[in-house]
Amino acid sequence: MNTRFSRQSFLGEHSPETLAHSRIGIIGLGGGGSHIAQQLAYLGVGHFVLYDDDRIEDSNLNRLVGGTARDVPLRTLKTTIARRTIKQVNPTAKVVEFPTLWQHDALRLRHCDVIFGCVDSYSAREQIERTCRRFLIPYIDIGMDVTESPIGCVISGQLIVSIPGSLCMRCVGFLNEDLLTQEAARYGAAGARPQVIWPNGILASLAIGSFVQLVTPWHRECSDMIYLEYDGNTQMVCPSNRLKYLTDKICHHFSSRTDLGDPFWPTGV
């Protein structure tokens, strides 16, 4: 008898099959995405589509799950490290690697059931969410930041689950034109941003919990929009206050027929 998933049987009788058939896209396999890939493999997810055009370097070894000192001189691709991590846990998993920008080869993403975004910029998030809405794919986003303040450094982060048919990241105020414009004006001047392993781990674990509740729920309190804020100084995670002040529960940003499907159809089939 296979007891591999016996300790997670509370996820439902059919949860091993559900997870084994799940097709998951992960965009960004750095500090956050590498945690997510590993946890999904432990859960028993069977199909992965991995995107990252970056290679490991010495400064990644403080947080890249699966990355080793031997990888650094070899400049191993981050997708390859994630693939290796997944396969070590779950040798039967099907893993497709794209060591490129996801926009360059996005056809495989369209077939994913859920996409995780572990990217650094607002514009990258905006593009991923737009694509997810186009193909009716739930999008789970995580991100963290360290900023300086008069009291010292402040660690903060967020988890957002954006489900087609429900509120989007613009609806909840996480994305807006001002932020995107300001970011575009700073393009190329960002420099190296502080990143550490434990906030990535916390946010990745929150993302995995949201994913499991989405595909094989273990309780009945399902939410169409999750927006959690992480305060890394107090070690607290709370629903964003922005959700309290939303008066409109309908997304008007992705409601047009032109927001859906293949933008280049008809190709003829």
Partner: protein, 169 residues
């Protein structure tokens, strides 16, 4: 060719709500789901449900031999919707039971008559028919390059929680 169909849980709930509403004489209700389409890798096709268009009460024919029969006005209006926007049209009705549904012989015969008519107005798009039960769904799609309909292999109901139906491949 493998065909997948996705619909948001909200749109599916809206369809069930409308189909549950009694008609003055028809035993069941029908409508059309307007859909977009996307190519997937490996000669797969993804149909994405966008909007439900119920058949108006006055556009049913009183035919006791079947659960519901569309009149010419219903077909004409559906063709007009398809003509106005480059999209797919899927006929939808429900069999009131739980578990996996499938089309009756009459459903299959009628579908074969009217679904290909949508190619007169949108020749490059697939069109088809969906049959719902209370908790499941099934469907057929006619694609322009084939004359015979293809069974939709998997359905994803996108919401919280997600639901997956059919053969996952």
């Amino acid at each position: 060719m493998k065909i997948s169909f996705k619909i948001t849980a909200k749109l599916l709930a809206q369809i069930h709500h409308d189909l549950s509403h009694p008609h003055p004489f028809a035993a069941e209700r029908i409508g059309f789901v307007q859909c977009q389409v996307a190519a997937l890798h490996g000669k797969r096709l993804l149909i994405l449900a966008h909007e439900f268009h119920p058949i108006e009460d006055a556009d049913y024919l009183n035919d006791p031999a079947v659960g519901a029969m569309m009149g010419p006005a219903a077909i004409r209006k559906a063709l007009q919707i398809a003509y106005a926007a480059p999209m797919c049209m899927f006929h939808v009705h429900r069999h009131d039971h739980r578990g996996d549904p499938w089309f009756s012989h009459i459903d299959l015969t009628e579908n074969q008559k009217f679904v290909p008519d949508f190619w007169h107005v949108q020749p490059k798009f697939p069109h088809g028919a969906i049959v719902l039960s209370f908790d499941s769904m099934a469907g057929l799609a006619w694609i322009p390059s084939k004359r015979t309909p293809i069974r939709i292999s998997e359905f994803s109901i996108v919401g919280s929680p997600m639901r997956f139906l059919g053969v996952r491949q």
